[in-house]
């Protein structure tokens, strides 16, 4: 790489949170441990801690999303920050206002953090490269590149059920090619020491040189799911049928959908995950999604604590200059 990792400050602490790739194992563990501390906040009578009081966080969503935006918003509010939700209709950005102009306008509103979700890979890095130095950027999902907070909440969920990452076999199933979630999960699993990460999917949905991400590729679901401890199903976009990537949802379910029969090939105590929202009968059977091995709703709950942890670590850093004095 030409440049130093721009998401770290001079002390190696998170200044932005753009991608899991390249982070230290300890940083990931710190996030998980901090999230563990926050996980009870939501069950208290007063669901707030004053850590980010006086800070302003802007959610910049260039891409429609309800769940992710809501959990970011809740996380920020539970940390006592002020939250600004800005849904940016992508067509208005193409009408001449450049991303940078928009950025300058938002900076003028004295925000401390931007949570950015954008349809183009690299958008979060682009924002981080160009924001004023006092602003932090959190990647809420950029194109097919990364969705690091989702990746971390999935790690949090796994650790709650399977505390030792070094003893796990994990399968990520589905549209790896277009999935920013899969990329973030794969980086996190590798950094946390999972000895075997498998990517399962049809050849049309597995990217070129996928092994270079640190996975074993399986095109046969039955073979790939055998004896795994964790099954992560990915969401399948309906558009994939039009691009000649898949013939039909029906055939996809039969070959790569998680049916009770296929799940039976995994370890008996395997957990089933999905970043949501689920296409029932496409990615998995309803009986599996709602079954005893599913931890899908826990993922949603955990999303708030993990995002609180990341926001507080990034914004709660002692000021670098103050520290130097």
């Amino acid at each position: 790489m030409k440049q130093r990792d721009i998401q770290l400050d001079s002390q190696g602490r998170l200044r932005h949170f753009l991608t899991i790739e390249g982070l230290k194992q300890q940083t990931l563990i710190d996030i998980l441990d901090t999230a563990e501390n926050f996980s009870t906040v939501g069950t208290r009578k007063v669901k707030k801690v004053p850590l980010l009081r006086g800070k302003t966080i802007a959610n910049l969503f260039f891409e429609a999303s309800t769940r992710t935006r809501t959990t970011f918003e809740l996380a920020a509010k539970r940390l006592s920050a002020d939250v600004l939700n800005i849904n940016i209709n992508t067509s208005s950005t193409t009408k001449g206002e450049s991303l940078l102009d928009m950025l300058r306008n938002l900076e003028a509103m004295h925000c401390d953090m931007f949570v950015v979700r954008h349809h183009s890979s690299g958008a979060a890095h682009f924002f981080a490269k160009h924001v004023a130095p006092h602003i932090s950027v959190i990647n809420g999902g950029d194109g097919s590149h990364a969705h690091p907070t989702q990746g971390m909440l999935d790690m949090f969920t796994i650790r709650r059920h399977k505390p030792d990452f070094t003893a796990l076999r994990v399968a990520v199933v589905g549209d790896i090619l277009h999935s920013r979630v899969a990329r973030s999960q794969i980086h996190a699993l590798n950094i946390l020491g999972v000895p075997e990460v498998r990517a399962i999917g049809p050849r049309t949905l597995i990217p070129a040189e996928a092994e270079s991400l640190g996975v074993h590729v399986y095109n046969d679901m039955k073979e790939g799911i055998r004896d795994v401890d964790v099954v992560i199903m990915l969401r399948l976009q309906r558009e994939r049928m039009q691009g000649a990537l898949l013939p039909s949802e029906n055939e996809y379910y039969r070959t790569y959908g998680l049916s009770p029969e296929k799940l039976a090939l995994a370890k008996p105590d395997a957990i089933v995950m999905h970043p949501g929202p689920i296409n029932r009968g496409v990615e998995m059977a309803s009986s599996v999604a709602d079954g005893p091995q599913s931890v899908i709703l826990e993922q949603v709950t955990n999303g708030i604590a993990v995002r609180m942890a990341i926001m507080s670590m990034v914004l709660g850093r002692p000021n670098e200059e103050q520290e130097a004095n």
Binding site: S121, G122, H125, F126, H145, L213
Partner: protein, 424 residues
């Protein structure tokens, strides 16, 4: 006006000159070598001791953004930058606005070029009307107006029958066809080479086959139609092999490569460096090695800049949304020179790929410095180092992927038709 270039090391591949000698210029022509001709009056003496003297560089593809995108650059700004880089001839593809598909546009460009005459511009005419890919352009008219060849630039010709007829028609007037090999259904929406980096960064990708499929299809048609074809800016090792085989089989085929494909790979994208967003995309390490090999064994006949200057805003966007293209006119010569250290090519081989070979491909009489030839000349100091920065780039486009690279070799004088158009 008599110009005497003294004690320079003259490299003129066409005339097999490679020695320290003096050069005498009058009335825009080279009139003497070694010794001054009788009655020669030196009005300007250029001391080229310790420097190389070569034919002016001929760049097979550069966009000057005029007409049509004068906010990015202009004929004046880019020909000045060319002169500062030792380039005396720029070949423009037809995708200007308006498109070069009528003699009027060619006349417009030549007139503007006369007003800003730091380097000469030659043009490629559109192969199809409006580059639309369906109807043939008036190639005869374009040739009469001065086009040195025809091309459809990056615009697709999806219908193979149209492509075949366009080739036949171009061959009819003995025009060289300049081809960009791209299968648009495979490259669609892509912005990076399909490989490790596109997979890591989640970037829509352009597979190797987007180029090789097109090369294969075009070679079959070249074989059938007999048109003289030049493949522009090849980026994959496999294409080089296919061109090599075609040349071996006697097909009238040449090809070029850019400096950036000889030095950079997909890895240089790093974390979304939009200055590395270019078409064809930066490929793998293996492709880079294959291109260098092709340049060494003569399959790739020329090195070009594929210069595409942009205003700063064009690159201020997430990777795929930034405009593709690099500003490379300033670094063409020094990067080409560096190949002497990094490949088995001699300096004379390199100079040939910048001067005499492109001249042959374009059918120009320049690119050599024999007695009586047009005095397009570049004098450069091979030892002079400089850093690439916004300040040192002469092009209006600062979108160079080589910012902060140290270059060795700097032009001291450029002559166009016997006139000093640049002097450091």
């Amino acid at each position: 006006m008599g110009i005497h270039i003294s004690k320079g090391h003259l490299i003129d591949p066409t005339n097999q000159v490679d020695k320290i000698t003096d050069l005498f210029i009058e009335d825009g022509q080279v009139i003497g070598l070694d010794k001054a001709p009788n009655n020669f009056k030196t009005e300007q003496l250029i001391n080229a001791e310790g420097q190389y003297v070569i034919p002016g560089i001929i760049d097979l593809q550069a966009r000057v953004r005029e007409p049509g995108q004068e906010d990015k650059a202009s004929i004046a700004s880019e020909t000045r930058a060319a002169a500062a880089g030792g380039i005396t001839t720029l070949c423009l593809p037809p995708d200007t606005q308006p498109i070069i598909d009528t003699p009027a546009v060619i006349e417009l460009i030549h007139r503007r070029n006369e007003l800003a005459a730091s380097a000469e511009i030659v043009t490629l005419g559109a192969l199809t009307k409006g580059l639309g890919g369906t109807e043939l352009s008036e190639m005869y008219e374009l040739k009469r107006a001065g086009c040195v060849g025809v091309s459809n630039a990056r615009a697709p010709i999806p219908n193979t029958l149209v492509m075949r007829r366009a080739m036949e028609y171009a061959a009819n007037f003995e025009m060289t066809l300049f081809l960009t090999a791209e299968d648009h259904s495979l490259s669609k929406n892509g912005c990076a080479h399909e490989g490790m980096i596109s997979t890591r960064l989640g970037l829509p990708s352009i597979p190797e086959a987007a180029e090789t499929m097109a090369v294969a299809r075009l070679l079959m048609l070249v074989e059938q139609t007999g048109v003289r074809a030049h493949f522009c800016q090849l980026s994959t090792a496999k294409s080089v092999q296919m061109i090599n085989r075609a040349q071996h089989d006697g097909l009238p085929v040449t090809a070029d490569v850019t400096t950036h494909h000889l030095y950079l790979t997909e890895m240089d994208i790093g974390y979304f460096d939009s200055n590395c967003h270019v078409f064809p995309p930066l490929r793998s390490q293996r492709d880079k090695a294959g291109l260098r090999e092709g340049l060494s064994n003569g399959t790739l006949n020329a090195i070009c800049s594929d210069h595409q200057p942009h205003e700063l805003d064009a690159k201020l966007a997430p990777f795929c949304e930034s405009e593709p293209g690099m500003s490379t006119i300033d670094t063409l010569l020094p990067l080409a020179l560096r190949l002497v250290d990094e490949t088995n090519l001699t300096l004379s081989d390199i100079i040939a790929r910048l001067t005499s070979h492109p001249a042959q491909i374009l059918g120009l009489k320049t690119g050599q410095l024999g007695i009586g030839s047009r005095a397009n000349i570049c004098v450069f100091d091979p030892q002079q180092s400089w850093m690439v920065s916004h300040e040192t780039l002469n092009s209006r486009g600062k979108n160079s992927p080589f910012i902060d690279w140290e270059m060795k070799g700097q032009v001291s004088h450029t002559l166009l038709a016997g006139r000093v158009v640049f002097q450091r």
